[in-house]
């Protein structure tokens, strides 16, 4: 899957989870950049991303992803839809 397409779909997931249409993510975006992105919202985000791309993150990945760039790399390697 092309990374640009992943970012486009990911933007929609972020906007939906955090209820903020203005969110645009890039590879360096972290939880520090989005006010509502705390440890609990992180799980809601991960679950929404899994549903969007038809894939599963491992628990190790869930807790060790440092930025959106790392998330995109995992999605690119594993996405089924």
């Amino acid at each position: 899957m092309i990374k640009n397409e992943i970012y486009e779909r990911l933007n929609k997931v972020f906007q939906d989870v955090f209820d903020d249409e203005s969110i645009v993510v890039n590879e360096n975006t972290t939880s520090a950049d989005i006010e509502e992105w705390d440890s609990l919202e992180h799980i809601n985000l991960v679950v929404a991303v899994e549903s969007e791309f038809g894939m599963k993150f491992t628990l190790g990945e869930t807790t060790s992803m440092k930025n959106v760039g790392e998330m995109v790399t995992i999605i690119a390697n594993r996405a089924t839809k």
């Binding site: 989870v17 609990l40 799980i43 809601n44 679950v47 628990l59 190790g60 869930t62 807790t63």
Partner: protein
């Protein structure tokens, strides 16, 4: 060997001397042998073997699951299950015996099960969680399994953390413990200074607060007095201040001791009483336990197929907001039930966990209403006064919830809550406060000591106080540290015939 005893100071002094005399490559060995000595001296060699067996189980389980990818899930479940079963059976068996006896009475049987009164290995509740985190991290591919069993033994059994944690992660401390550190004057001084600050909190503040708490919760020196009204609030507030001075003081001693060897253990406190909500307070109080519960209970639950089905159910019947909120609430409930049970297998602790859960989730559920109210009343939430109000509210809520902890039973605690509504504010001014076990001089030492701790906490919010002091002139630095040392010598509750109480969190 208590970590505030004379023998502990001698022991640490000898350990430091051996550590830095040994060649750097072998310094881990000093820590390993010293830790084994500390545990055996504090319990017995049989209990040390129990501890070593749990370490060996985690070591073997992690290596096995790493090699057998196909069966790794089951090997992980069996290993983690065995570790947790050992903890529950050894530490909390009385909870099950009590319930079995209730059931027997209910069924009209006259037989009763005898209590086992087992002695558990030192810090079992702490090192078991560390070993579980190690096995799960290997299973989730976050770390590689350890090849050297002695390295795992040192990680789980490093002596300063064998009283009340912190619950360090393998990747945080294993390397630092294994590699020998060169002597660094500044790090060493910081370690001594933190140690001193911890002793001050324990011997000057926590021990005095304990006398007030014991007087109120035990019904006076003869146990015949029933405290009411303001006394109960004083007891509850004194208890959480005691808990903080005791636990964070203990952590200062532990982290300071580790720093003497150049090892940095994870922090357990971040000025928790400046929190403006209960959930924030729990992110700043006993941090390593909170993070453990989040990573190994909350996250696995929220990512499980059960949570996914529950989320879909909530989405269907309550919409998007419900699908986000309710699985989180359910996960929070599990976390607080486990947290309560971890502190002690009794209904009093489970009630405490549930009460904390209700305050946290209640706060989340009522947030939209409060937000509307604040908007309607034009409240300036950026004002300092609003923050302080939130801090006081959180502090009092925390005191209320924790007030069940020192009570003899849940029933006693609930009776105390009932009696807390009696009107008796005059006790604040008629000298009654000096009848709570502390005479006037001791009472004022406590008050000024608490004010001093509060001022230091204010500075801690800006960064390391030791680093701030280190920037001052030589004379100023030495005067400050000598003054702290003298304050401990003069005002500390110690000496012949006086035994400071064990650390509260050492009992969990």
């Amino acid at each position: 060997m208590s970590i505030i005893s004379f023998w502990f100071f001698i022991f640490v002094g000898l350990m430091v001397a051996f550590y830095y005399v040994f060649p750097r490559r072998g310094r881990w060995f000093v820590l390993l042998i010293g830790s084994a000595f500390f545990i055996i001296a504090g319990s017995s060699w049989q209990l040390y073997l129990c501890f070593a067996a749990q370490v060996l189980l985690a070591y073997g389980g992690a290596r096995l699951l790493y090699r057998n990818k196909k069966q790794s899930k089951w090997i992980c479940r069996i290993t983690v299950g065995a570790e947790l079963a050992a903890l529950v059976i050894v530490k909390e068996n009385s909870f099950f015996i009590i319930n079995a006896n209730y059931l027997l009475s209910f069924l009209g049987k006259s037989e009763h099960l005898e209590y086992l009164n087992w002695v558990s290995p030192m810090a079992m509740s702490y090192y078991t969680l560390m070993l579980v985190s190690y096995v799960l991290d290997v299973h989730w591919g976050k770390i590689q399994p350890e090849k050297k069993p002695l390295r795992l033994l040192l990680y789980a059994g490093f002596f300063p953390q064998m009283v009340s944690g912190p619950i360090a992660r393998y990747e945080e401390t294993a390397d630092a413990l294994w590699q020998g550190h060169p002597f660094q004057y500044e790090t060493f001084c910081f370690g001594v200074q933190r140690f001193l600050w911890g002793v001050f909190k324990k011997l000057v503040l926590a021990e005095r607060l304990r006398i007030i708490v014991d007087t109120i919760y035990n019904g006076g020196s003869e146990g015949t007095w029933t405290p009411t009204g303001i006394y109960i609030w004083i007891g509850a507030i004194a208890y959480i201040l005691q808990l903080y001075a005791d636990f964070s003081g203990g952590m200062d001693i532990v982290l300071g001791t580790a720093q003497l060897f150049g090892v940095t253990l994870p922090e357990n406190f971040r000025t928790p009483f400046f929190s403006t909500s209960m959930s924030e307070l729990w992110r700043r109080w006993h941090i390593t336990l909170g993070v453990w519960l989040k990573d190994y209970i909350m996250y696995p639950f929220l990512m499980s197929s059960t949570a996914t089905k529950f989320r879909a159910f909530c989405q269907k019947h309550g919409g998007k907001k419900a699908a986000k909120a309710y699985p989180t609430y359910l996960g929070t409930l599990f976390v607080w039930l486990v947290c309560g049970f971890w502190h002690g297998g009794s209904y009093r602790w489970i009630f405490w966990g549930l009460a904390t859960f209700m305050v946290i989730v209640g706060g989340l559920m009522l947030k939209p209403i409060f937000d509307h109210l604040k908007k309607f009343l034009h409240v300036n939430t950026q004002a300092e006064s609003w923050t302080v109000l939130g801090q006081i509210r959180t502090f009092l809520l925390f005191a209320l919830v924790c007030s069940v902890q020192p009570a003899e039973s849940l029933l006693t605690a609930l009776n105390m809550w009932r009696n807390s509504f009696v009107y008796n504010p005059w006790i604040l001014v008629d000298g009654s406060l000096f009848q709570l076990g502390l005479d006037q001089p001791d009472f004022w030492v406590l008050v000024f000591g608490l004010i001093f701790m509060f001022i230091i906490s204010k500075y801690q919010q800006r960064g390391s106080v030791r680093a701030m002091i280190a920037k001052q002139n030589l004379a100023c630095r030495w005067i400050l540290w000598i003054a702290l040392f003298v304050a401990i010598l003069v005002f500390g509750m110690y000496g012949e015939g006086y035994n400071p109480a064990n650390f509260i969190y050492g009992g969990f």
